[in-house]
């Protein structure tokens, strides 16, 4: 499902942070083209 895909990551500081999602995506064979972490406060 993610292999070979280009992924835009929108993480959250108080949820799953961007870099943590990015690690998962790379491990799944996807290419991460943007990693953003949101802070809602």
């Amino acid at each position: 499902m993610l292999k070979g895909k280009k992924v835009i990551v929108f993480g959250e500081r108080d949820g799953v942070p961007g870099p943590a999602i990015a690690v998962c995506m790379k491990a799944a064979g996807a290419e991460v083209i943007l990693t953003v972490t949101e802070c809602f406060v």
């Binding site: 499902m1 993610l2 292999k3 070979g4 895909k5 280009k6 992924v7 835009i8 990551v9 929108f10 993480g11 959250e12 108080d14 949820g15 799953v16 942070p17 961007g18 943590a20 999602i21 690690v23 998962c24 995506m25 491990a27 799944a28 996807a30 083209i33 943007l34 953003v36 949101e38 809602f40």
Partner: protein, 111 residues
């Protein structure tokens, strides 16, 4: 989502097209995650930012959905994200994201 991030996404899509592009979201609150997901799929709901009225229809997933979990090596997933399954309402998140993806498909069929 602030306008600056919307600008970046719009630029990325304009440059690369939506072919093979996927958005993955990590907000813990279902409502918050939904707003982010809808912004990148159906446009800015506040009708203010660069994505106002722009329907990118990017396939969008939450990192805590079973489809995503299955696609990631389990040891990596457990280390990076698994913990948040205990914290977030994963069922509600799954429901809302499925609904959003269905709406994208419907929009495509009717287009």
């Amino acid at each position: 989502m602030d306008t600056e991030k919307q600008t970046i996404i719009k630029k990325l899509v304009d440059e690369m097209g939506i072919q093979d592009l996927v958005v993955v979201i990590g907000a813990a609150d279902p409502e918050v995650a939904q707003v982010t997901a809808e912004t990148v799929t159906f446009g800015d709901p506040s009708f203010a930012g660069p994505l106002a009225g722009v329907s990118l229809r990017l396939p969008v997933y939450h990192i805590l959905e079973p489809e995503v979990k299955k696609a990631v090596p389990q040891d990596v997933y457990q280390e990076q994200a698994g913990f948040m399954e205990l914290v977030a309402d994963t069922e509600e998140i799954g429901k809302r994201f499925k609904e959003i993806r269905n709406r994208i498909q419907e929009a495509e069929h009717s287009a």
